[in-house]
Symmetry: C2
Subunit: 386 residues, 2 copies
């Protein structure tokens, strides 16, 4: 039994809000919302907590509950900022730690007060910064991936040179390239960085190479630094594999200071079941931004994955949704995109997008540069085209 | 078009196997299994890969496909060991990276060759090592958590002392205790470590304090070292928040060398939808062990979460399933357990278990030590009790 014998808490009083979809009718949903308030904080029988300061300040508060459909309610819950302790790991724990294991609860959205937008700096570059690096103030950005796995660093660098000459803006490692014996990280990154820098010099058009630095916890920062030294223009990271905070740590590093492209590998289960997990917008949009992603790759509708256009819209909206002072970042739809679909994709995503086309660029004849040229044309048709 | 111009791959030829449940009838399931082989490796149109070595050695292989029910097939897929590059991040990426985003695929089980059991050392202590530390060769181990959040380090240390005097084996931080302003990590860990060490000296019975070191990526190792210096007996980590490889990195650290208790926070979505995600056994059992967990906390059937007894059995089996040379680790069922249920839990889990009872220990009168005594009695009734 906890009694009132201790020093009082001195919480700052500021609160952040999380919106949950609860798969229950209102009465039961309210009970479940109250349970979330406890489960995500004290995780202790409420009737055994005698201390008023813990009950009032540590336990979350149901701010509102709205029935939005049969057996569907939306609950807004407030938590004290200090409960998250200024740490992304603990913030994610409060938002969805234990309740990830309870059925029928989905984290829909987060709303952070201004002060948390200072604690979490978010994207270092964001849309504006990435556009400035690429000298592309106003058009869709084009990206492709170096693959297939099994090629050597030298071969991938040849591909990279072709892509850069063809007008691609961002050339990324395929996310499965790590440090395999048949394609070592250092060799690949130095060759590809050099090839892309040289091609950009020749064409006069900026082009950035983003190596994949998803790596063991004790090598991640070293790989990012090695990439920077080699002349890479950005970094690819799969936060599902490394943890979101590893991305935040890299984004916050003033010496590395490279744009970060977030890859969705190993994150799919969060959005796999309707009414459970984390909404597409909160996961790929909000949590990605909070973790410092300058662009977030996700599988677009109509490709070889299964996101709907509404789910993709939710992601796009969340890359822009006001969150303290966090910069908007780029949505980067991918996953089986084709040149044929570029007009449709642009109509849906608009110009503030990174279009990522991989395999299909290789389908258009033996000359990769020409394939890239078609990609460029389709995204930016010359005004005199008839 | 990729041609045969490069040096040949020199893969070692050894393979690991992943078993997937695919929610399709056999013909379609075979197609989907072949798609997994590509998606998880080259992620490239197979018809554009002319190099035989990449087709044969890099792309996964369907080893078997068995219909196990209507629209349910089990596919065993083999991947070259070298594709995982000796890194847990990339191994998890090959096992379930992109396909986590495809519906109707569940990772059921992994089978690693002996050589990978050398790459990944797994639990440093495991069942045997943890029993040796606790001088408890043959009985269920008892654990509880320091909570509720909101108490100061001094108050938590008082609780810890009572638990240690009461005969608890492992006293862990609640997983939501990080480094909040109202309960700083350093203060809490030094006070609780000292309290538990002192109590153990008084009782003559070993007792270990496991602080929660789940923390930002750039502070995690420092917290583990600080915990070690303060005299902590182990570490609690939520790999869903930090990434599994952060656990592996800590387990492999010869200077830290403390047992690790894995907490399931933020992992729930992997098992939330039947037929998707990762099986309970593979996630909490196999991947936990591979990542160095000496014990894996999971929500037991019959508590306030929703795992079934079959799912819990799958976890228990996987803590023991042969995996190279990896030591078996402890299942640690938790999540709303009560003293009343101890006999039932022991009947189900047997004696090779860590029983974790939190809130309910506080329900049995104002004297915590007595409550612990009842916990001890129920797990280890004296032979002369009539």
């Amino acid at each position: 039994m906890i009694t009132d014998r201790a020093e009082l808490l001195s919480l700052c009083g500021e609160r952040f809000r999380a919106t949950y979809l609860i798969a229950s009718a209102p009465e039961e949903a309210l009970e479940r919302a109250r349970d979330i308030c406890i489960e995500q904080t004290v995780e202790f029988p409420a009737d055994l907590i005698e201390r008023a300061d813990i009950r009032d300040q540590v336990i979350g508060r149901v701010e509102s509950l709205e029935e939005i459909g049969p057996e569907r309610c939306e609950a807004v819950i407030e938590f004290a900022v200090e409960v998250a302790g200024g740490e992304l790991t603990q913030l994610l724990n409060v938002l969805f730690g234990n309740i990830s294991i309870k059925p029928g609860i989905r984290l829909e959205r987060l709303d952070l007060p201004e002060s948390m937008g200072e604690t979490f700096r978010g994207p270092r570059f964001g849309r504006r910064g990435l556009r400035a690096l690429l000298d592309a103030p106003k058009r869709p950005l084009l990206s492709t991936a170096l693959k297939p796995m099994g090629l050597s660093g030298r071969e991938l660098a040849e591909l990279a040179a072709d892509f850069a000459c063809g007008g691609i803006d961002i050339i990324k490692d395929d996310h499965g390239l790590s440090d395999q014996s048949f394609c070592r990280f250092d060799d690949r990154v130095s060759r590809c960085s050099e090839a892309v820098l040289r091609a950009a010099e020749q064409t006069g058009k900026p082009c950035l190479y983003f190596p994949n630095i998803t790596a063991p916890a004790d090598e991640l920062v070293d790989r990012a630094r090695a990439a920077k030294r080699a002349g890479a223009g950005g970094l690819v990271l799969s936060p599902g594999l490394t943890g979101f905070d590893s991305m935040r740590r890299l984004a916050d590093d003033d010496d590395i200071a490279l744009p970060i492209l977030s890859h969705p590998a190993f994150l799919g289960s969060f959005t796999a079941a309707p009414g459970q997990g984390i909404s597409h917008g909160a996961l790929y949009g909000q949590i990605g931004r909070l973790s410092g992603a300058d662009a977030s790759i996700f599988p677009s509708f109509g490709g070889r994955f299964s996101f709907t256009s509404e789910e993709c819209r939710d992601i796009v909206d969340s890359t822009l949704r006001p969150m303290g002072r966090l910069a908007p970042n780029f949505p980067a739809p991918a996953g089986g995109m084709t040149l044929e679909r570029v007009p449709e994709l642009l109509e849906f995503y608009g110009e503030d997008v990174i279009l990522l086309i991989g395999g299909d660029l290789h389908r258009h004849g033996s000359n990769l540069i020409e394939g890239c040229g078609r990609f460029v044309e389709r995204t930016n048709p010359p005004p005199t085209t008839s």
